[in-house]
Amino acid sequence: MTGNVPFSDMLVYLDGSEGSMSAAMYAVLLAKGTGSRLHALYCINTKALGDLVKARIFINQEKAEYMDDMGKDARRHIRHIEKLAHSKGVEVTGVIVDGSPSAEVLRYIKDNHVDLLVLGSVNMIRSRREELTSESDRMLRTSPCPVLVARDDESIWQMFEELD
């Protein structure tokens, strides 16, 4: 807890989508406004890659290529949030992990005493099929701490631009 704010360690989950970048901006704004610590995590989904090889959809060469591409993507997005945060005078701990995103986010929350999870767009409920549950949906449902969903909205970009 920071002052009168009920959280002190905030984690924003990045997955390369535009929605997660809006969430990152919102998290920077929140950290700036509350003085809480900001963590950003990108998980390279090696669980899905492994499953795709097992199902024979991917060959090992593709798995290696995608590992490489996703690693670059992860570093690019972590660098981006670091840049965003520094532009507003906020410190951020950027972390890249691999595995199953929802499991890794939960592990990080527990290991680092995170008390607010910030997510980007959560899919609209358009199907009842459990197989189509996204990683963000899983995090939303299973997070041990409160979750804030930042809608991918232009107002976030505007607020971010306006903040000194």
Partner: protein
């Protein structure tokens, strides 16, 4: 974007009438190129990329499903074309295929591409879903199955 955001009713072919692997790939790619008004060179580049990938190892899996795919440098966003054939076709796997998911990936978001393929694989692990897909009779029926 998740699978449900990408599925487009105009990009579902049911029934597919071709009976050869290359022709099926051409039909699926053709649907996408027609929709996106891509030129002949782009169409050929996509067909070549998908066929080249299939020649390394067939993407035909069990339950009569095949998931041909390729990374296409000039695509700005990923796309999926679904095809259902009444007649199982030899797609290079140990069993014939009648349900096809063509996944075209942009190079911009590799994570999204992996998530899409993973969602399709998870969905196809359901015997009931696959049976319903195989017995569907129109593009509308296929589309509805995803949104039940």
């Amino acid at each position: 974007m998740g699978l449900l955001e990408i599925i487009d009713k105009d990009l579902i072919i049911n029934p597919l009438t071709s009976v050869k692997r290359e022709d099926i790939i051409r039909d699926l790619v053709g649907a996408y190129c027609d929709k996106e008004a891509l030129d002949e060179d782009q169409r050929e580049a996509i067909v070549r990329a998908v066929i080249d990938r299939e020649l390394i190892a067939s993407t035909a899996m069990e339950k009569g499903i095949a998931i041909p795919h390729a990374k296409i440098p000039f695509l700005k966003k990923s796309a999926i074309v679904i095809g259902v054939s009444r007649i199982p076709v030899d797609f290079g796997g140990s069993e014939k295929s009648s349900i096809f998911f063509l996944v075209l990936a942009s190079q911009e978001n590799p994570t999204e591409h992996v998530q899409l393929l993973s969602s399709i694989a998870r969905l196809c692990s359901s015997d009931v879903f696959v049976r319903m897909l195989a017995s569907s009779r129109s593009a509308d029926e296929v589309y509805q199955l995803f949104f039940d």
